[in-house]
């Protein structure tokens, strides 16, 4: 309950902050439409030359684009701005104040910056997923739809856990303010099914920086390509990753000694 109230307050602060840059917001919404146009064009070019990409039709690629955009929105609305704030607060010592507050420190570090206007992209991604699902036709059972949503959430949790570990590393290596570049760099790989990538790249985006777990895997679930055991396996991995990340965060906090003192 208290957490909800806190989240509400943070939202209010962030709405006020984004209202200060109204022109920026409008231009950014326009830009995300420009990129959507580009994404459609490149899908159109690919599928005017072939009927399937790695065994997937255009409908499934549109679903994938929707999931990719969802992950991208999550990164752009929460992860990147909070990383920036976190890195700055470790550098100048203002993390002390966050740690002194009587709430979960990781909660404050994860949610104190929210790029509100990105919210509309959730709707956009949702419509891409709906349209893509209808176009592909092969997806029918409500169970596969449920699997899809559960896998999207668990994939998001895996990426969140990885992020927590990456930023927590700053407690050990203070100069590590490139901590999320590798995540940013590989994010684009989520646009296409990981099955088309050469083996080495597929291994990187599946096991090391698991972008594909949040993008390709849910769509595989939607297509009914995954056995129940595999789905449970992914859920287990994401739970384990989350618990591991919490441990790393706690250890990091213990190590932190403040930059100003």
């Amino acid at each position: 309950m208290r957490t909800l109230k806190l989240l509400q307050t943070l939202l209010k602060i962030n709405i006020q902050m984004s209202l200060a840059y109204r022109a920026d917001t409008v231009i950014n919404i326009f830009l995300s439409l420009v990129w959507l146009g580009w994404e459609f064009l490149s899908l159109n070019i690919i599928f005017s030359n072939t009927t399937t990409l790695g065994g997937w039709g255009i409908g499934e690629l549109i679903v994938l684009l929707g999931v990719f955009r969802l992950v991208n929105t999550y990164m752009a609305a929460l992860i990147w701005p909070n990383t920036e704030k976190f890195n700055a607060s470790v550098r100048d010592g203002s993390l002390d104040y966050t740690l002194l507050q009587p709430v979960n420190s990781l909660f404050m570090v994860s949610f104190s910056r929210i790029t509100i206007w990105r919210g509309w992209e959730v709707l956009l991604s949702g419509s891409l997923i709906v349209v893509g699902t209808r176009m592909s036709g092969s997806i029918s059972s409500p169970l596969s739809l449920l699997t899809f949503f559960v896998l999207v959430l668990s994939g998001g949790l895996v990426l969140y856990s990885l992020w927590v570990v990456l930023i927590a590393l700053t407690f050990w290596f203070t100069k590590f303010d490139n901590n999320v570049t590798i995540l940013q760099a590989l994010l684009d790989s989520g646009r296409f099914p990981a099955t088309v990538y050469p083996a080495w790249l597929r291994i990187i985006v599946t096991f090391i920086i698991p972008i594909a777990v949040a993008t390709t895997v849910p769509v595989q679930g939607l297509r009914g390509e995954l056995s129940p055991a595999q789905v449970l396996g992914f859920l287990g991995i994401s739970a384990a990753a989350f618990l591991f990340a919490m441990q790393v965060w706690q250890l990091g906090i213990k190590r932190y000694s403040g930059a100003s003192s």
């Binding site: 830009l31 072939t50 990409l53 760099a185 296409f192 088309v196 050469p198």
Partner: protein, 265 residues
């Protein structure tokens, strides 16, 4: 004048060398997208035999060459110059009797490029082992003719980015405008999709725009895939755009500096 450039080079090289870890990260960041598109197109070409006459190897060769050309013709002007206008530090450079953009910023770009290229070469070697491009169809004169095209491409890209950065004199923030410029560049330069696969209308427009001179023209020239007429018109249009982008840059610069009030200083 040569002495001035030499001094700027020494300072900028040392400065860039200091941030070599960042350079590697930046390099990695920039490599991923072309590799992804290369993987997608080779998959399509393998399953269909060829796409529009392009075989899987044609795509591999295209993107592997693109990585080199992009490294050579690209520039980071906005990243090093926009903040100087935003926070007013440009004031210090304006006092000097040399053009800040055409000396210091230019040399920063070149030093960054040189250092990046050193780190890039071994990575390119590894990628060659992984993707096995077959360059046997490439004529010897291709890479030679591409040298002036790369220089022209860099000059045009640098001047256009410079002109866009100068818009910051009016608006202070130019990031959104720059992203818009980048999205147009992506569409018309052949960065993610070779231009000959684009819809006819995009190809027609690309022919008259400067963006293909930064990537597509030097790439195709290197690979010897252009007819003599295309080569001549390509160079002619590069010279025209060089003049146009120079005029555009000097105009935005001149008018912009007049408005400069050293924000924050």
């Amino acid at each position: 004048m040569l002495n001035i450039f030499k001094h700027f080079w020494q300072v900028n090289w040392a400065e860039n060398w200091q941030y070599r870890a960042n350079l590697l990260m930046y390099l990695f960041y920039w490599l991923v997208s072309p590799i992804i598109y290369m993987a997608v197109w080779t998959t399509v070409a393998r399953s269909n035999g060829s796409v529009n006459g392009m075989t899987a190897n044609d795509f591999i060769v295209y993107y592997m060459t693109l990585l080199v050309i992009d490294q050579l013709t690209g520039n980071i002007t906005i990243h090093i110059f926009a903040y100087k206008i935003q926070d007013g530090t440009l004031a210090g450079e304006l006092i000097r009797p040399v053009h800040p953009m055409l000396t210091n910023t230019l040399v920063t770009n070149l030093a960054h490029k040189a250092l990046n290229f050193l780190a890039f070469l071994p990575i390119w070697g590894v990628l060659c082992l992984l993707f096995r491009p077959d360059y046997t169809g490439t004529p010897w004169w291709g890479p030679i003719l591409a040298v002036p095209a790369v220089i022209l491409g860099f000059a045009i890209g640098f001047l256009l980015s410079g002109a866009i950065t100068c818009v910051a004199f009016w608006t202070t923030r130019v990031w959104a405008l720059h992203e818009f410029y980048y999205s147009i560049l992506v569409l018309f330069s052949g960065q993610f999709v070779p231009l000959q696969l684009m819809p006819g209308i995009v190809q027609q427009m690309a022919r008259y725009l400067p963006f293909q001179l930064i990537l597509y023209f030097p790439i195709q020239l290197t690979l010897g895939r252009l007819s003599p007429t295309e080569i001549v018109t390509g160079f002619a249009s590069a010279l025209v755009w060089l003049v146009v982008s120079y005029l555009l840059f000097t105009w935005t610069w001149r008018e912009g500096v007049k408005r400069f009030s050293a924000v924050g200083a």
